[in-house]
């Protein structure tokens, strides 16, 4: 199963500010009553984007200027809480290809990586600079350079860390581990045979 090598993501960006944005906020639990991930994109951030009658609230994703965005800029501890992969699935199906945040919650980071969504870590000040440029001109082209671990826009180049194993996976087209894990099955059986509880 050949996977795309993701060395960079290029596109417009939108800033969804806030710290500790949890996966319940990203995709409310009631939208998880489904047996496939299809269609989750339209429910991304639903309860902060829509009022009780389903009308748009003031939210960056409802702003026409940012409808083309494929890069999400946000704050600290993004994706905390529930392990639901529905959250990164909704982000991807909405159209996002990369995320820049101050830092990410552990399980969310892994879930994004295995879907091929680069999660880049930048400082608050740098995220604010990107956000300011995007606010001034929503058509600003932003690049998450996975290889160089940078975010670029206009004439600016800012450092943006992508953790080692995730970066390797994205760059080498092995961000989804299934093929490599499957190759290891004979060794898996050997390891399991050494563990008495696995015999049950």
């Amino acid at each position: 199963m050949a996977l795309e090598k993701i060395s960079s993501v290029v596109g417009q960006a939108v800033h969804v500010p806030g710290n500790d944005i949890d996966t319940d906020r990203i995709i409310p639990a009631r939208f998880m009553k489904c047996v496939t991930f299809d269609g989750l994109g339209e429910y991304l951030f639903y309860d902060v984007r829509k009022d009780a009658d389903g009308h748009d609230r003031a939210h960056p994703l409802n702003d026409e200027r940012f409808k083309q965005a494929t890069i999400l800029l946000t704050g600290a501890n993004f994706g905390c809480g529930s392990s639901r992969e529905h959250a990164p699935q909704a982000i991807q199906k909405y159209g996002f290809r990369g995320i820049v945040a101050e830092n990410f919650a552990e399980i969310f980071f892994g879930n994004c990586t295995t879907l091929g969504i680069p999660c880049a870590v930048a400082t608050r000040a740098d995220i604010a600079r990107i956000a300011a440029a995007v606010a001034a001109d929503p058509t600003t082209e932003v690049t998450i350079d996975v290889e160089a671990q940078q975010v670029r826009f206009g004439a600016e180049t800012l450092p943006a860390e992508i953790r080692g194993s995730a970066r390797d996976g994205l760059l080498n087209g092995r961000w989804d581990a299934i093929a490599e894990l499957h190759e290891g099955v004979p060794q898996v059986r050997e390891t399991a045979a050494r563990l008495p509880y696995m015999a049950v």
Binding site: D24, K33, P196, Y197
Partner: protein, 472 residues
């Protein structure tokens, strides 16, 4: 060389190093439920891969089950579809399913331990962040996403980077009326909601030595609320005693061998920890949250934070956002905040000892007028145990509704939901915006006995005053 439990379990389950530097880690025990697994089975079908070791996956249904309805089809066709899909996937792949008809169904993190499936020195994964619960037994238990569920089904492994280990020692004796829930709320408030990112938490010290397995589970359960994907307690005689005679526990000659092996997984004296935090048990008080994440907690005696007194712009903004949502007044005491709903249950506090302790203190009291109070056992076995002891009667006489096992109002993927901006005194684990099923609903997390006190007074209360009693 001295090793921590985490290292020993990791080393015993490490299959090989992957090209990206991560470890292919054997997952000995895989638990699944209806919400996060159907897509994984779909992916397997797309890849034309079988389940590699069907006897090492166990299923139950918990998130979507109605707690007031047993007959199928359920009123909610989406819930029924998820139920049907899990049944089909388990049947087609020969996976043991603790369905509602078995009498063993319940919240996945309650079922695993009570069946004896959760054992020391094992690796466990489940598509649910509260999988850290199982660490109470000295297992390394990971909450995972759906793609990783696929990986575990297909290969019984997943790709993982090694975590650092932080030992959290709680020493001394907890004051009367302070419970395991207060310990973990205190830890999260102290270390922050993302303080544990990249760490496994090893809980230790005299408080944990003296805790029952159920108390240890309550603490490990909420590790992820502090950012730690894994939390564990070293196995000891308490662990062994809990597991003896459980359906999946070893028997006969296998039992003493298993016990010896299990105890050998405990962290060695002098092993390396990446960080150590020491907490004095005497400083922990009955705790409640006031905000919109589990780290926004205070003791019942404290006042709601004032953003004007915040020490950083960040803190000020987060207090303001939380108080606006919670409709609470800065600087006011949290005690006395009116409640509308009281919820007893969840994978954090839905076990026998939780209901036993509530029944002990609540007998003779009545739920305040206007408060909706529900008690939801974490499993059918917990329900049966409570009913045998008459705990259900004590609770219903006090004014609680006694429901069937499930996740219920912890996350409201079922008919149990807050309405409008109702405020819920809840023994669950998350107070996120909208968590309990209403986009404006408000959650105040606390121990089960504090929920009982709030139910009786109709307001957030100090259970030590309401019941004029303390810990057993």
């Amino acid at each position: 060389m001295a090793k921590s439990l985490f290292e020993k379990v990791w080393d015993a389950h490490a299959v090989r190093t992957l090209a990206n530097g991560q470890t292919q880690l054997l997952i000995g025990t895989h638990l699944i439920h209806e919400v996060t697994s159907p897509q994984a089975f779909g992916m397997l079908r797309d890849l034309n891969l079988p389940v590699l070791m069907p006897t090492r996956t166990f299923a139950t249904v918990d998130h979507i089950v109605p707690t007031d309805e047993f007959a199928e089809p359920y009123r909610d066709p989406l819930a029924q579809a998820m139920m049907d899909e899990l049944r089909r996937n388990c049947a087609e792949n020969n996976i043991t399913f603790f369905d509602r008809g078995t009498g063993k169904q319940g919240i996945v993190h309650i079922v695993g331990p009570e069946q004896g499936i959760t054992q020391p020195g094992t690796t466990i994964a489940c598509g649910d962040s509260h999988t850290s619960t199982h660490g109470a037994f000295g297992a390394i238990a990971f909450g995972i996403g759906t793609t990783q569920i696929r990986d575990v089904l297909a290969t019984q492994t997943m790709a993982l980077g090694k975590l650092k280990v932080r030992r959290i020692e709680v020493n001394g004796t907890l004051p009367p009326g302070v419970y395991a829930k207060d310990v973990i709320l205190h830890i999260i408030a102290q270390l922050g909601v993302n303080g544990g990112t990249g760490f496994a938490y090893e809980y230790a010290g005299s408080v944990f030595d003296n805790f029952s397995m159920e108390e240890r589970m309550t603490v490990c359960n909420m590790s992820i609320e502090g950012g730690a994907r894994v939390g564990y307690v070293n196995p000891d005689q308490t662990t062994v005693d809990y597991l003896e005679g459980r359906p999946y526990s070893p028997t006969g000659d296998d039992w003493p061998a298993a016990v010896a092996r299990w105890l050998g997984f405990a962290s060695d004296p002098g092993c390396h920890y990446d960080d150590v935090v020491v907490i004095d048990a005497a400083q922990i008080a009955p705790s409640v949250t006031w905000g919109i994440n589990p780290g926004q907690g205070i003791s019942i005696e404290q006042s709601i934070p004032d953003p004007a007194l915040a020490t950083s712009e960040d803190e000020k903004a987060s207090i303001e956002e939380a108080l606006e949502y919670m409709k609470l007044t800065p600087g006011a005491p949290i005690k006395g905040t009116p409640i509308n709903v009281a919820f007893l249950g969840s994978c954090t506090n839905g076990r026998l000892s939780d209901f036993q302790e509530v029944a002990r203190v609540i007998a003779g009291h009545k739920v305040a007028a206007g408060v909706k109070a529900i008690a939801v056992p974490g499993s059918q076995i917990v329900a049966a145990q409570c009913e045998k002891l008459g705990i259900d009667k004590v609770l219903t006489e006090a004014g609680f509704e006694w429901r069937a096992a499930g996740c219920s109002m912890c996350l409201a993927m079922n008919p149990d939901k807050l309405i409008g901006d109702q405020l819920c005194a809840s023994s669950s684990n998350r107070n996120f915006k909208g968590r309990q099923g209403s986009t404006t609903g408000r959650t105040v997390l606390m121990s089960p006995v504090m929920v009982a006190a709030a139910a009786i007074t109709g307001q957030v209360s100090d259970a030590r005053e309401v019941f004029a009693t303390g810990r057993n």
